[in-house]
Amino acid sequence: MSEHDETIYRTSTGRVGKMMAILCGTVIVGAIIFFALGDYWISELSPAGQAFAGITDEPAAPAVAQTGADIPITLDFIESKDFRTLAFNALPGELGNNPTINAKVGDRIIFNILNAGKSFHAFGVTLNDEGFGGILGSSAVASPNSPLKPGEGGTSEFIPGEPGTYYYICTVPGHREMGMVGTIIVE
């Protein structure tokens, strides 16, 4: 303390203020980046996960001559109070439960999907009569690994190329077995 008579402490109001400004500033900037990018951080599935779920880059389905007819369908994911029964639009036994869709080859079915439950759901059309794989073309809305959160929704289209029985399901594993499945009969 040869040059100064006054003691300068390692901490003072000004220095603490500066430190707090640096810390709070960094945290706020970080929080802005985090929230601005939102769900980017959890947007993808790892390559191993894609292999496990059977997601491959398959060529698109062959183009089908469209009939020009549009069939709009509104489907809401709903759950029973104890979560043990799941369904589309209405619980089993009620009117409008898992409506059956009749269509012709080449009709364009437009799905309007809403997650009206409290759990996570995702939508897709498949030919398989069990399980959650084999989702066809552009029929999917969300996927099991970035599913629709409660209140979220989306639209998708499906143009059947061959006659047969298709199933529209919740692609979250297990939900089909718990009741989230309906049929599409294509002539």
Partner: protein
């Protein structure tokens, strides 16, 4: 610093003997409950995100529900289709991991009729909190 340590040795002796007691007791109880009786009925339990499915010895399948009979022994063969789950019936202290690629076994014998919870106790993703099933034990 000169001081006597006799108190510490006695203390350590007491602690050690208590630990030996704890270890021996635990070993003994584990030994008793470890071996499944030979007449135990085998139930195949398959876990997947996020539900339980069961297959009885006679081929009956159940999803999200399990019906058992009182005072029979059951041996669960647990496996998983995707990630690690943990099969837990808290009321009957049945608990074991369902590991994909492995079959783990645990056995129990329900001695009370009624309705019990089955839950997943190993973190397994989005709906882990609601990966539940019901156990129905029917009276003899």
């Amino acid at each position: 610093m000169a001081h006597s340590n006799w108190a510490e040795w006695i203390y350590l002796g007491v602690v050690t003997s208590l630990l030996v007691y704890v270890g021996a007791e635990a070993w003994n109880i584990e030994r008793i409950i470890d071996h499944a009786p030979e007449d135990a009925e085998i139930i195949k339990v398959t876990a997947q995100q996020w539900l339980w499915s069961f297959e009885h010895e006679d081929g009956t399948k159940e999803v999200g529900e399990l019906h058992l009979k009182k005072d029979h022994a059951y041996k669960f063969e647990l496996t998983s289709k995707d990630v690690i789950h943990n099969f837990n019936i808290p009321e009957y202290t049945v608990l074991l991991d369902a590991v994909p690629g492995r079959i783990n076994t645990v056995w129990f014998s329900p001695n009370e009729a009624g309705e019990f919870d089955i839950q997943c106790r190993e973190y397994c993703g989005l709906i882990h909190y609601n990966m539940r099933a019901k156990l129905f034990v029917d009276g003899a």
